[in-house]
Subunit: 361 residues, 2 copies
């Protein structure tokens, strides 16, 4: 497909080409049903099959036991910022958060509507350029919250903190869900907007350990309770069927690829190819994140001036390398290389960055 | 397209074929951008254009003045069931609801979390087979709420009630948005899940008169406030971009068709063709709704036995007439003939129903 670009957007982001081709093929007539998936009743047998397969693929790929409930919800991680504390609060217990940047800060803001929040660790002192080490949560917390990957500053957890006693660890994995093998049993709740690693925008994957579904005050508006959606397998009301279908296709692709382990290996390789260019550029490119906190998903770096950065983004764009501008709040450049970014895309970017340095040094 | 069926599902429902064809054509490469709309950053120029056009089309097609804010939210009408009362509540003022069936009842349940609810009119006494007349709201209400169309029982408002003073009328138009010309100035708030008349599942159109955006207590979780989304033109967080894109295509189709007025004429014609079969069947088919309350969108009827109904649904299905089974809570049959259902589909259904009667009388 020579007319496709390499899309380094931070999300919504590139999807695997075979997934898009499959969606296109069946768009007017899904598997002989005579209709598009977009036109199917969410109560129909054909849609139910898609829905169930998508859910089973999450269990399978992440190695989730039956102790966990997989849900497909709406409203993005921003909605889980309030749903998590609302559903997990306990009388006289504070929430404990790690602040690793913008998304943590936003999550903390919403949590404060439901209880006191203690920030137990933060990297704000160094412009969020690292993941705090030796994080320690207290036994009295209703839950502990971390942001798995930080798209804006380009840092990521690779070692997951422990929580004491039965304090559940809650993680926003929007931008690194299934980018690496994790032990799911470490987590009480994992939530992730789909639009970076597992599908298009419009659906949020929410995984909750089943015992935690009972914490919520029954006297809560129906749609705000995880238990509502859990009881009905995410079919309490009409869900975002098309987005879930796209997640199914994308997860099937991941499985065929070899699963999360194979993807983790490719992700490390892809990220290291770009970090190598940065580290061997004699300071022409300066990485933002500290080395041991580097994200495999969002590679953030600066050039010597914002003019040169702009030029670099513009020239990359001419070579079909799209979306390399840093987040508007921090500037610089950012290459988002989610699961669906191909090796070819990364190779092309690496060649371009080397050439750009040669031409502008 | 001989391999397409006629889809009478109550929603998600059939979409216009030219809309699906357009979506298919551009699925791998939208207008030369080299990417799918599903892969575009929600902050990109290309997506911004789609988003704005969709919003402008709603204004244009519904004749909305600048006094109204059009928003694209997530979570379905079920989420608006709590968001409307939460955003509109006023101290010591009750909410007033008209109960015309399941969806009203669900809305009332959520409203009770925020204030006292008075049901000022109900058709529960006759199995919700009619729309109450001479509805009277009181001046003291924070707002008045109606359900525009009732998918399960097949009734619809064609004369919209007045509200006294400055009491805003709030309407759930999920299943009849843009099926008829309305005077939007009668309404304070209109909300509608897209998946029946204007697009696929996964996005909810919410229209709020701007002065009502200021009622909400600022001390409310960010995502629960309409004002959050209004201020950012529904781009506070990543929205359901693909679903909004499909709405844009579908609304463009409606505009080319001649707008809501032309669609209303066709809707009346389509509905009457089916009601005529019922009314001239000598009781073989029995319509559920009283004649002056009949929905143009969902035509509900019974045969003499559930066995015969099952047979009718099964035989229709063999002729590619899909989704004619009544809602599981009431049984019988239901033909949902939303804006996108073609005349050809209705003609085929009418012929089938006549023939089925001949064969089984």
């Amino acid at each position: 497909m020579t007319d496709r670009v390499f899309n380094f957007y931070a999300g919504p982001a590139t999807l695997p080409l075979p997934v898009l081709k499959e969606a296109k093929k069946d768009l007017l007539n899904y598997k002989g049903t005579g209709m598009s998936v977009m036109e199917m009743s969410h109560r129909s047998k054909d849609y139910a099959e898609i829905h169930e397969k998508a859910t089973n693929l999450v269990h399978d790929l992440m190695g989730l036991s039956d102790e966990y409930k997989v849900m497909w919800l709406q409203g993005g991680a921003s909605t889980q910022f309030y749903m998590a504390p609302l559903n997990l609060k306990q009388k006289n217990k504070p929430f404990e958060y790690v602040d690793t940047g913008r998304w943590s800060t936003k999550a903390i803001k919403e949590a404060k509507f439901y209880s006191d929040v203690t920030v137990v660790a933060s990297s704000e002192d160094k412009n969020y350029s690292y993941i705090p080490k030796d994080i320690s949560f207290s036994e009295n917390a209703a839950f502990a919250h971390i942001t798995g990957n930080n798209t804006i500053v380009g840092t990521e957890f690779h070692n997951w903190p422990d929580t004491p006693g039965d304090v559940p660890l809650v993680c926003d994995m929007s931008s690194n869900i299934m980018d690496q093998v994790i032990d799911p049993n470490k987590f009480g709740v994992i939530y992730a907007g789909a639009q970076k690693n597992i599908g298009p925008a419009g659906v949020t994957l929410v995984i909750v350990r089943k015992d935690l579904l009972n914490r919520v005050d029954e006297n809560t508006p129906t749609m705000q309770k995880w238990s509502t959606h859990a009881k009905k397998d995410s079919l309490f009301n009409t869900g975002p069927c098309w987005a879930i279908y796209m997640c199914k296709l994308s997860l099937e692709y991941l499985k065929e690829f070899g699963g999360v382990k194979a993807m983790e290996q490719q992700n490390k390789k892809k990220a290291n190819m770009i970090y190598d260019v940065i580290d061997h550029s004699d300071g022409f490119y300066k990485g933002h994140a500290e080395k041991d906190s580097r994200s495999w998903m969002n590679i953030t770096f600066n050039l010597s001036s914002s003019e040169l950065e702009e030029k670099c983004v513009a020239e990359a764009s001419k070579r079909n390398l799209i979306g390399l501008k840093g987040h508007r709040s921090v500037g610089g450049m950012r290459a988002s290389v989610y699961n669906a970014m191909s090796m070819e895309g990364v190779e092309t970017l690496v060649e371009f960055l080397k050439k750009f340095q040669e031409d502008h040094q």
